[in-house]
Amino acid sequence: MKTRKTVDVETPEAGGDEARDAMGRPITPRRTEMRLGREAQARIGQQLRAMYEAVVNEGVPPQIEELVRRLSEQDDGAA
């Protein structure tokens, strides 16, 4: 762990179906553009949802449930 290096690990080097220029040579995108490839997008989406779901999975906190039930039972207005 403590030897963790600051190396890019997520983006595999280009496979066969990378973009090519008019001469058929592979186009090497700039690093940040590569990051926005499908994989990076998927990874961002996945982490975003995981973070969000962690809260969603907690359900409705008891005090909030009680508040909603109380308000929905009472006559108009005064909270």
Partner: protein, 183 residues
Amino acid sequence: MKLDPAIRDQVLGTVPSLRAFAISLCGNVDRADDLVQETLLRALAHIDSFEPGTNMPAWLFTILRNLFRSEYRKRRREVEDADGRYAETLKSHPEQTGRVEFAEFRNALAKLPSDQREALILVGASGFSYEDAAAICGCAVGTIKSRVNRARTRLADLLAIDGVDDFGPDRATRAVLAGGGRN
């Protein structure tokens, strides 16, 4: 009049997602829960303005966001001193501890401008359509799309360069989570 139980259940059913959104805005679970409660108070006091059959989550998210914009953001500024605050408050959240990767991600998310973060979360996590997200944020659909795109680009960028150099808070957070060993 009493609230129609079906409407009440729709409100309750939206609460978990509403909380998740509130936490992403406030960066703090307690303030987020206050914001959710205030939102529900207002919503239920004005339940007549909700048209049954329309989108309950979008309606509640809109109220919460407006409330946050008008009041909570000011309060937040008073206590908040650094971007990394968002990540730090969430770090103590039981369901979310234990993963360095998560911490890095939240740190990066916290660095986004709030309008971009909000758009990304509404579309990418809450699952709203671009149209609904635009209605919630009171802006054009194209604006939401461009905010989401910019948010993704920036996040990818931040996650890519994270740890390379000069990222004080990130490095510190990671070192703590990794159990120390290096600064």
